[in-house]
């Protein structure tokens, strides 16, 4: 019994460590990337992965916390991509230019084809 709990604890701390490392990477990427779109994709993807990993790890540390942390994780999984997509579309429509070394602009190509 205690061995199972010990294994769960070790697994939980490993998950929390991975998650907090990804969160730190996300914030560094937010600082160092050159324009809005790059920052957005770096930060959103890494943050979502890191947050899900930490929440799962906390659930493993104490199994009574698992349902609530799964609810929070589901909520992050639903809202983070929606917020990022709405922001990306809004800043494109607002007229913020891409970085000068960006090469792909699918949205503009589609507009020209129509």
């Amino acid at each position: 019994m205690s061995i199972a709990i010990l294994i769960l604890q070790i697994l939980g701390y490993i998950f929390i460590g991975i998650g907090s490392f990804f969160l730190l990477l996300a914030s560094i990427g937010l600082l160092r990337m050159p324009d809005v779109y790059n920052r957005m994709q770096t930060a959103t993807k890494a943050t979502t992965l890191g947050a899900l990993s930490v929440l799962f790890g906390v659930g493993l540390l104490d199994l009574a916390w698992m349902p609530m942390s799964i609810v929070i994780a589901l909520f992050i999984l639903l809202t983070a991509p929606v917020g990022a997509s709405a922001l990306a579309r809004a800043s494109y429509k607002h007229g913020i230019k891409l970085w000068k070394e960006s090469v792909v602009d699918k949205y503009k190509e589609e507009k020209e084809e129509e």
């Binding site: 909520f75 639903l78 809202t79 929606v82 997509s85 709405a86 579309r89």
Partner: protein, 243 residues
């Protein structure tokens, strides 16, 4: 020059405030030497005020969350006043925004399909969570005011995603009036039964269970519905578009 003077003034005010705050004891001071007169037992007791609330609060009110016990039970009349102030503020916003009614016939751009679908999916979840916050006000942190704000933000999400959406004014008014009436009737029943306004006349039950703490959950549900409908009315007055 003006900015430098302003900065120096701000720093001086900060220093004076900090010097004043150093003298005030926060946190760990032992107040057990403080004596106060207890009118019920008719003698001086040596219990301190925070000890009184923390120890006797659960016995007096049956509520697990002491903050809720203070807000709804010990200081229930103040909460009625706060709800009235919020109602007056909502009325003021509505009457000011009525002047701009003509301007609302404007063209608005539709939202992204992603935002529309996500707001449909999340609306029920957010309303459910707001209801959870104010129903569990006597067990977990939260209560009527945050729960009402969460419900209003669910409606705000719909207003943002669908520019043509607007909530029914009649339903909002009926919900708000019923909630306010429930609060006042609960207080008057206490007055009728034991002679003091908002007396906790229902049985306390077992603490940490949902049906416990007497009339505290009833009043918090009423406050939650009232705050939610008032804030939704404010949001509707500002963002709604009439056809």
């Amino acid at each position: 020059m003006k900015r430098i003077v302003a900065a120096i003034l701000a720093i001086l005010i900060f220093i004076v405030l900090a010097l004043a705050f150093v003298k005030i004891p926060f946190g760990n001071i032992n107040l057990s030497d403080y004596h106060y007169y207890n009118p019920i037992t008719d003698k001086q007791t040596s219990d301190s005020v925070p000890q009184h609330y923390l120890v006797d609060g659960k016995k007096d009110t049956g509520s697990t969350n002491i903050v809720t016990a203070v807000v709804v039970d010990y200081r229930g009349f103040d909460t009625l006043g706060e709800v009235t102030v919020l109602f007056l503020a909502a009325t003021g916003v509505g009457s000011i925004m009525y002047i701009f009614e003509k301007e609302k016939r404007r063209k608005v751009r539709r939202a992204n399909a992603v935002v529309e679908t996500a707001s449909q999916l999340l609306f029920g979840f957010i309303v459910l969570f707001g209801a959870y916050i104010f129903v569990h006000g006597h067990l977990t942190p939260g209560g009527g005011f945050p729960g009402g704000a969460v419900i209003a933000s669910a409606f705000l999400l719909l207003y943002l995603a669908y520019p043509r959406f607007h909530a029914e004014h009649k339903t909002l008014n009926v919900a708000e009036s019923l909630a306010g009436l429930t609060f006042v009737i609960a207080g008057l029943l206490g007055l009728l039964i034991s002679g003091s306004f908002l007396y906790n006349f229902l049985p306390f039950g077992v603490p940490t269970y949902l049906f416990s703490a007497g009339i505290i959950p009833v009043i918090y549900v009423a406050v939650g519905v009232k705050v939610g409908s008032e804030l939704t009315g404010i949001v509707d007055a500002m963002m709604g578009v009439r056809e």
